[in-house]
């Protein structure tokens, strides 16, 4: 014991041996599982998708001879461009509606429910619809919205309408209703989280400085909840832009989104065109996410 104690000061006095490269960098190993997984199952397929979009497609076969034919076909076809526009329009509508419906709900949960337990219970209540499968949730809209569906029956019994409302099902409206119902919770969650983190003393300080409730919302509460709105908007956007199931179940194949085109093309083994649509869709998402992130400095705010 004494010997080591005596020896150690001199050992520390000597210049410390440089740590080996391995020792200095081994914490990067923690990244290995994630990097390997993502490379194999995300980066590689994405690269493959871009590559395949330039392959040559014949009716029944596909060959790796590079060509821009699929791209030309996509860009010159009114059907595909319409689908792109429809996707964007539907996305914006659903995003706006999830915000308009979700924000007040989140405001109630995050600001007016001061009890943490009640807050959690209410947020859990928001995800109750997810206890059933996606398909059931989507298909359950049909008996609700159809010509002889629940809504029309009730409205007719009440004498509010004489004819069943036809636009409720198998239209863009029904797709929007279905999507908003499914995705609104992804807006409520992040916004409620940010709102519940706002220190009560900030609101008291604003009141004390003479601001009315509306001014406090506009100048303090909303700006502080903006990161939650952006995160919620990213969730909703990514899911809506890639959607195909709600659209095909509720539109009776009348509303084709980019996602539906991919499904159709893959179904008929036209991989090259499906890859083109996939690349376009990915590009749209990148632009949308970049635009949303530029709204707010998430790194500073979270």
């Amino acid at each position: 014991m004494d010997a080591t104690a005596a020896a150690s000061p001199s050992a520390y006095a000597a210049p410390a041996p440089r740590e080996s490269f391995w020792r200095r960098n081994r914490h990067y190993l923690l990244l290995a599982p994630g990097v390997i997984w993502m490379t194999l199952f995300l980066i590689a397929p994405l690269a493959m998708m871009v590559y395949v979009s330039f392959w040559t497609q014949t009716t029944f076969a596909i060959s790796p001879t590079l060509t821009t034919r699929s791209w030309e076909m996509f860009l010159s076809s009114q059907t595909y461009l319409d689908a792109l526009l429809r996707t964007l329009r539907l996305w914006l509508t659903v995003l706006a509606l999830t915000f308009v419906i979700g924000y007040p709900t989140a405001l109630f949960i995050g600001q007016f429910v001061r009890n943490k337990t009640t807050q959690t219970v209410l947020l859990v209540a928001c995800v109750i619809p997810f206890w059933t499968s996606f398909l059931i949730r989507v298909i359950a809209w049909r008996p609700m919205l159809g010509r002889e569906g629940a809504i029309n029956i009730v409205l007719m019994r009440l004498g509010l309408i004489d004819e069943p409302i036809a636009v409720l099902l198998f239209t863009e409206l029904s797709v929007i209703i279905g999507m908003v119902q499914i995705y609104v919770v992804f807006m409520v969650g992040p916004v409620a989280f940010m709102l519940s983190r706002i220190d009560e003393s900030l609101i008291e300080a604003s009141r004390d400085l003479g601001a009315s409730a509306w001014t406090i919302f506009r100048r303090v509460i909303f700006p502080l909840s903006l990161p939650g709105v952006v995160v919620g908007a990213i969730f909703v956007s990514v899911m809506v832009l890639g959607e195909f199931a709600t659209a095909s179940a509720l539109s009776g194949r009348q509303v084709n989104l980019l996602g539906n085109i991919i499904v159709t093309q893959v179904g008929s083994l036209r991989w090259a065109l499906a890859a083109v649509v996939g690349v376009v869709l990915t590009g749209v998402m990148v632009v949308v996410i970049a635009a949303l992130l530029s709204l707010v400095n998430l790194r500073r705010e979270l």
Binding site: D199, E204, A205, D208, L209, G210, T215, R219, L224
Partner: protein, 367 residues
């Protein structure tokens, strides 16, 4: 001038503030002292309108503001946590009230800039206007919070433990700063604190709160020299309070019988200020007019300009004696040394069974 009358607030039936009646004058520094849980913050929040009183009224310059919403009261409230808006710059924080208040907002940006710049200069933060609150130190945040409230020219500025989160050094500097800023603006400060030294040093007048009641409202030197109740004396952390009973011939405290000042025959508590007691060798008879009690030395604490000696009383409690070094050199005693503590009988404060100060002849003479 603000008058509080019978202000009471209960939480789940337990009164946090009960029946507080007091007058806040114009252009004064008022400190509000009380142990934690005494209702200091609740009282401030009642005045600011952040809590509703169960009964009582608040009048500001003759106008009843008891039920006015916070944002139309024209009072300033500086929160203990500073409550700076994290998403806007220091300048915008300070400008918040001027720009956004419902009553008489300042819409002209050059006017806002002039007033905010002047206020930032007053609190010594002229260079930091463009910083974000997250980039400030505790003392700077404190000043921004103060500037943000003062720039709106409140009739009264309420400060909730404004120095609580600062370290000792900074606290001392801010003490001076707060007084300077207040005098420059001529606005009334109502400063809540749990620190008796702060309350004594800063206030023109001080209020002592105990269990929701204002037990004493007076100038700090009066509060210090003649605490109105035994609770105030205990809370000042400057008095040895001995419990016992007045008997024929003196005050019975355990085994010792201590002489009482004249007119204090109802005494139930007997208080001797730390700095008015002295330590003498054991055994000697006390000088005329002085009381003596045996005590055993425990330890001494050196505080720079003064020394505090801790001794065991015969009943086991601790007796403190404070000596200023300009008057006597520190004395060392072996641990458990048998000594005598003595004090002038005239310096004794006696409190009756309900805890009130008994007006003895000397006190009457002094008043």
């Amino acid at each position: 001038m603000m008058e509080l009358t019978g202000l009471t607030r209960r939480f789940d039936g337990v009164p946090a503030v009960s029946d507080v009646t007091l007058t806040v004058r114009d252009d004064e520094y008022l400190t509000l002292l009380g142990p934690s849980g005494a209702g200091k913050s609740t009282l401030l929040r009642l005045i600011a309108g952040l809590e509703r009183p169960d009964s009582g009224s608040i009048r500001l310059n003759g106008e009843d503001i008891t039920h006015r919403p916070t944002h139309t009261r024209g009072l300033g409230f500086v929160q203990q946590s500073y409550a700076l808006f994290p998403h806007i710059s220091v300048f915008d924080n300070v400008a918040f009230g001027l720009r956004n208040r419902l009553v008489d907002p300042v819409t002209d940006e050059t006017g806002v800039k002039r007033r905010v710049d002047a206020m930032l200069e007053l609190v010594g933060l002229s260079d930091l206007g463009q910083r974000m609150p997250g980039q400030l130190s505790g003392g700077q945040k404190q000043r921004v919070s103060l500037a943000r409230t003062l720039v709106t020219e409140p009739k009264i500025c309420l400060l909730d433990e404004p120095l609580g989160a600062l370290d000792a050094n900074l606290r001392e500097r801010m003490t001076v700063e707060l007084r300077r800023i207040r005098e420059a603006l001529g606005v009334t400060f109502m400063h809540v604190t749990g620190n008796e030294a702060e309350a004594l040093a800063m206030g023109d007048r001080m209020i002592v709160l105990d269990r929701g009641r204002a037990v004493m409202i007076d100038a700090p030197d009066t509060v210090y020299a003649r605490p109105a109740t035994v609770a105030v004396a205990k809370f000042l952390n400057a008095y040895n309070v001995l419990d016992g009973k007045a008997e024929i011939g003196g005050f019975r405290h355990g085994d010792v019988l201590l002489p009482l000042p004249e007119g204090a025959a109802r005494a139930a508590h007997y208080a001797v200020r730390y700095d008015l007691a002295s330590i003498e060798p054991a055994g000697g008879a006390p000088a005329p007019g002085r009381a003596a009690m045996p005590a055993a030395f425990i330890a001494r604490e050196f505080l720079g300009s003064r020394v505090v000696y801790f001794l065991h009383r015969p009943d086991g409690g601790v007796f403190e004696v404070e000596r200023h070094l300009s008057r006597s050199d520190p004395v060392d005693h072996p641990k458990d040394a048998a000594l005598t503590v003595t004090w002038a009988v005239d310096d004794v404060l006696a409190f009756d069974a309900s805890g009130r100060l008994i007006e003895t002849r000397r006190l009457k003479g002094a008043a």
